[in-house]
Symmetry: C2
Subunit: 261 residues, 2 copies
């Protein structure tokens, strides 16, 4: 098996006008020549400057959008993206979503999109350890705001007992805060993190371009003696969010390590 040491230089600068142009603009953004929030020249003007058609400029701008460097606003212009980043601790999954926002200077709000009793899917049923088929659960979808920006969509499933008794409260506040304030003491969780590109539906909910990366935080949280209290996932704008953890490293099982070639 052979590998080339660097990417085929093709594609980065191989004459392709739209790439050449977007890389030039990228450099101007990264050196600060265009500052965050600043407006770039119009598509027409850029076409004049680089001597190419508007189509090619639009392709170049599309490249920058995909890299999260600029956003466009119809009728207004092309603007350099402004950076934000909010950290959430994995040690307290979502528990501190609201206090994390508060501590980092944002006003956190939730907007409940739906709160319904539905038949559990097999996946949810398994996670919440529901006994038979056709068991019901409460299904909630809500949008989480930092100040006035939507930064995450949360999809949560509650066992009926919990969803029923806390229906009103769950629709008005953050999941974890509401649970612990009402005597449901969470003590363990299984979580995973992955990332997906935004679909059209998600891109509309979160006011981002199609395909922008979203962090997906999957959680299954227990209370008492390993009783599932809630499961679900939080899809958050990756340009706004970051998850941190401090961990103790287990000693490896040497037998599973692969020997160097």
């Amino acid at each position: 098996m052979t590998f080339s040491m660097v990417p085929s230089s093709q594609g980065i600068d191989k004459q392709h006008l739209h790439i050449t142009i977007s890389e030039k603009l990228k450099q101007k953004i990264e050196t600060g020549e265009y500052e965050p929030g600043e407006r770039l020249p119009s598509e027409f003007d850029l076409g004049q400057v680089f001597g190419v058609s508007r189509t090619t400029i639009r392709k170049a701008i599309g490249n920058l959008i995909q890299q999260g460097l600029v956003t466009t606003q119809q009728g207004k212009g092309i603007f350099v993206t402004e950076q934000h980043k909010i950290s959430f601790s994995m040690a307290n999954p979502l528990m501190y979503f609201d206090s994390a926002l508060k501590q980092q200077g944002y006003v956190g709000q939730v907007q409940s999109l739906r709160f319904q009793r539905i038949k559990a899917t097999s996946d949810v049923s398994r996670k919440l350890q529901l006994p038979a088929k056709d068991t019901e659960v409460y299904w909630q979808e809500k949008i989480i705001y930092a100040d006035d920006s939507p930064i995450a969509l949360d999809v949560t499933y509650y066992p009926v007992a919990i969803g029923e008794s806390l229906a009103e409260k769950l629709q008005q506040g953050f999941t974890y805060s509401t649970l612990v304030k009402n005597g449901i003491h969470l003590n363990a969780a299984e979580v995973s993190l992955e990332s997906i590109p935004a679909s059209y539906e998600l891109s509309e909910y979160l006011a981002i371009p199609l395909g922008m990366p979203l962090l997906v935080f999957n959680y299954l949280v227990y209370h008492q003696q390993h009783q599932p209290a809630v499961c679900g996932k939080t899809l958050s704008r990756s340009d706004w969010t970051c998850y941190t953890a401090e961990i103790e490293v287990d000693q490896p099982d040497f037998s599973t390590l692969v020997d160097p070639l």
Copy 2:
């Protein structure tokens, strides 16, 4: 502050041909009418079917590419993406990168792109707790393969003592395996996870389209009494990777919780 309950129906189906078309194709993919690996009709044919220009079809296909649903190959066609997903445990950051690959049926390999002694940046210097200015570190960049697919780019910084003594071995194997096999016992780590869209450079290294989400696993790993042993980040293809953890949930500090509205 008022919120609308659903996205403005605009944009999802508001006549825009390229969206209508990409959503129709998306549905066919998700229902399995087009199976993973299968070739879609050519751009020309799709244009005939939907009665639109090739430009519009290309825009629609671009939408699908951004959502990770299809990939294109010049001269061959448009193909439905095949799914993979490899899980890595956060409890053993990278330690088990190789064994995780092995356990999940993949052949893991690394290709060292560079291994150089450089002046430490202030960020690296701080993380590795290097004393003065102009301190040097070893800088390694390598690509990690699962079978023959590049799935991650790892950027690592080592203190000189470690980099120097293990230079050869570090260039041939996985970071953590190499360290523990050579008596450097890692016992704690600070990590964080975020996600970014692939730049051109990264998209070439990892053979993915521009803008595809990458998971960024930042790590700072200690040995002995909190001595930094290595820091860096692993940028992995989000369509291939997932990080998992089992955690104990701390009891919240009620004073920081925000009251429901």
